[in-house]
Amino acid sequence: MERKVQTHAKAAEIFCRDESRVDWHSKALWVLREKRDRAAGSLPEWEELRALGSQIKLHTLSHLGQYLETFEANCLKRGIQVHWAKDGAEHNRIALEILRRHQVKKLVKSKSMLTEECHLNPFLEGHGIEVIDTDLGERIIQLNHQPPSHIVVPAIHMKKEEVGELFHDKLGTPKGQSDPTRLTRAARAHLREQFLSADAAMTGVNMAVASEGAVIVCTNEGNADMGANLPKLQLHSMGIDKIVPDMDSAAVLLRMLARNATGQPITTYSSLYRGAKAGGEMHIIIVDNGRSEMMRDKILGEALKCIRCGGCLNTCPVYRRSGGYSYGHTIPGPIGIAVGADEDETHSSPWACTLCGSCSFVCPTKVPLDKIIFHRRRLYAERGSLPYGKGSYMPLVGRFMASETLLNTGMAAARTALAILPHSLLKPMSGAWGKYRELPTAPGSSFEGWLKKNRPELLVKSTKNSKGEN
């Protein structure tokens, strides 16, 4: 599916037209948030773990070159072949070259946001390699020709009836069947065949352990392991930010990852690959693709502490009510804005945020998401590239947004400012979503309905923007 170039506000407005669906979407994510709260609350040392997780990641990032070299050296000792790619295109070329050398016709993949970021699937398909996504959610959206709408539960936007319809079409399940268990069984049978006939497997990486030359891959379904352990050839793609120093560090992050994602104490499988199977070959592709550039800015660089648990999406009032496709980048939600805002041609995604700070509060590695998002707004303001429709406020707010003092006193100051400064001055900073600050819960009132009643001027503006006016 081609992503349309439109501002977040416009895309969200379209999503919000179906009010009951928005409520359903929001509720599904809130269930995850509640499960997360229970899991986190059951560990008295939770806050201690978060502090450690944050420190481990900051330490690793501040010595990243060193750790990457240690990691590579230890991999080479284990006979693992290591490749380096500065961007997505190089990653894809490397993958293709390895697959071609082995005459691979069918590749089974397990979930990897990195390969989404690199647009690997269409590239390989263009070169005649069949790519099968094997995570159930990923397979659903692959069959539906959509990108993931969430980083952990990629088909969260689809109702079971829609999945049933799709499976009837593509997998031949009985018409009208929408029972999740039956649909899952059908997918299991279908994907079993794919696993058994694949020539190679590729997985993402949750953690790369420098001291051991090993990668850790976490799934609940077992698809990464069903993939990697059958064919002779296995590939693992990782961003440079996936490095952890040692197994003890991995323990800290593994204790939080699944708890924060879905409320489970750990994913079903946490697999450690540290060399090829007998007679096989193992490759690791280490990808930069803009990460080292982000680290030149110490605020943006903190986004690389992320372990992709999805917790910040589940809690985000904007994500829950605007859906994963309203952002102009691969990764939606708060972390998506933090790492992917540059992909958004409309420059609007940093405004898809109320600055409520809930994301930073739930993040297991303390990524300061609201601070980063605010910083992104400021960067656009400084460059004079505010999103469509927001430019007209520039003369008023330019100095304000570029104010070091305000930013240095942190988000607390920004939040106070939101409360006391005149609205016209703040509009470009708070965005349409500022309304959640004024109306934290809106029972019985949809966003659109509320907007119509209270801020009709915004509705007009976003409709106009959709026609591409700048």
Partner: protein, 197 residues
């Protein structure tokens, strides 16, 4: 080439130098009774089951499975099976039950650490064994239960030289990708039982 470019780019990083935190003191010490009861509870939350009766119960169970015509692959000494590992991992697709030894079990999450060494039989080895079987029967020594992941990593320590693959397995495979409804049995085993010996 790109390696050098990436390493060079990282030299211009603005990230402040942060020391590695001390990780040894975190975690809990639990008595054997607590270890076993938490393991049982948490294994249940990940949809697994702690089976009573130890090795004798397991032997009786596999005997009866075989009597029912099930394909049983046993990689645990002394527990009978009717299937051997072969050179092709794909051939294991017919295994109904795999009996596999775990090195340790983690009380806080029900996970069992299984290594490559345990996934072999004579000359043959198959990393796929715990994933491709329909049902998984794991065996762990009672004195190999640890409280949490910190202790687990402490025991595993620096990985042994020959270890090329290891996995923490917490319950049967599962998914909630269709409308958040939990379905046990995604791509890996559809059930998991743990026997303590």
């Amino acid at each position: 080439m790109s390696k050098q470019a990436i390493l060079d780019a990282l030299k211009t990083s603005a990230m402040a130098d942060v020391a590695m935190p001390e990780l040894k003191s975190i975690g809990n010490q639990l008595s054997q009774v607590e270890l076993e009861s938490r393991l049982e509870t948490n294994l249940a939350t990940v949809a697994g089951k702690l089976e009573p009766g130890g090795i004798e119960a397991l032997k009786a169970h596999t005997q009866s499975l075989m009597a029912q015509g099930k394909v049983v692959l046993s990689l645990v000494d002394g527990v009978p099976g009717n299937r051997e590992l072969t050179a092709s991992p794909h051939a294991l697709a017919d295994v109904d039950f795999a009996v596999i030894p775990g090195e340790l079990a983690v009380a806080e999450n029900g996970a069992v650490w299984v290594t490559e060494a345990a996934l072999s039989q004579g000359e043959q080895a198959a990393r796929i064994a715990p994933f491709i079987c329909e049902n998984l029967l794991l065996v762990v020594r009672r004195d190999a239960i640890v409280a949490d992941m910190h202790q687990a990593m402490g025991r595993i320590g620096k990985l042994e030289d020959e270890l090329g693959f290891g996995v923490f397995i917490a319950g049967p495979s599962k998914t909630a990708d269709i409308e958040q409804a939990l379905v046990v049995g995604a791509h890996g085993a559809c059930s998991l039982a743990l026997y303590l010996i």
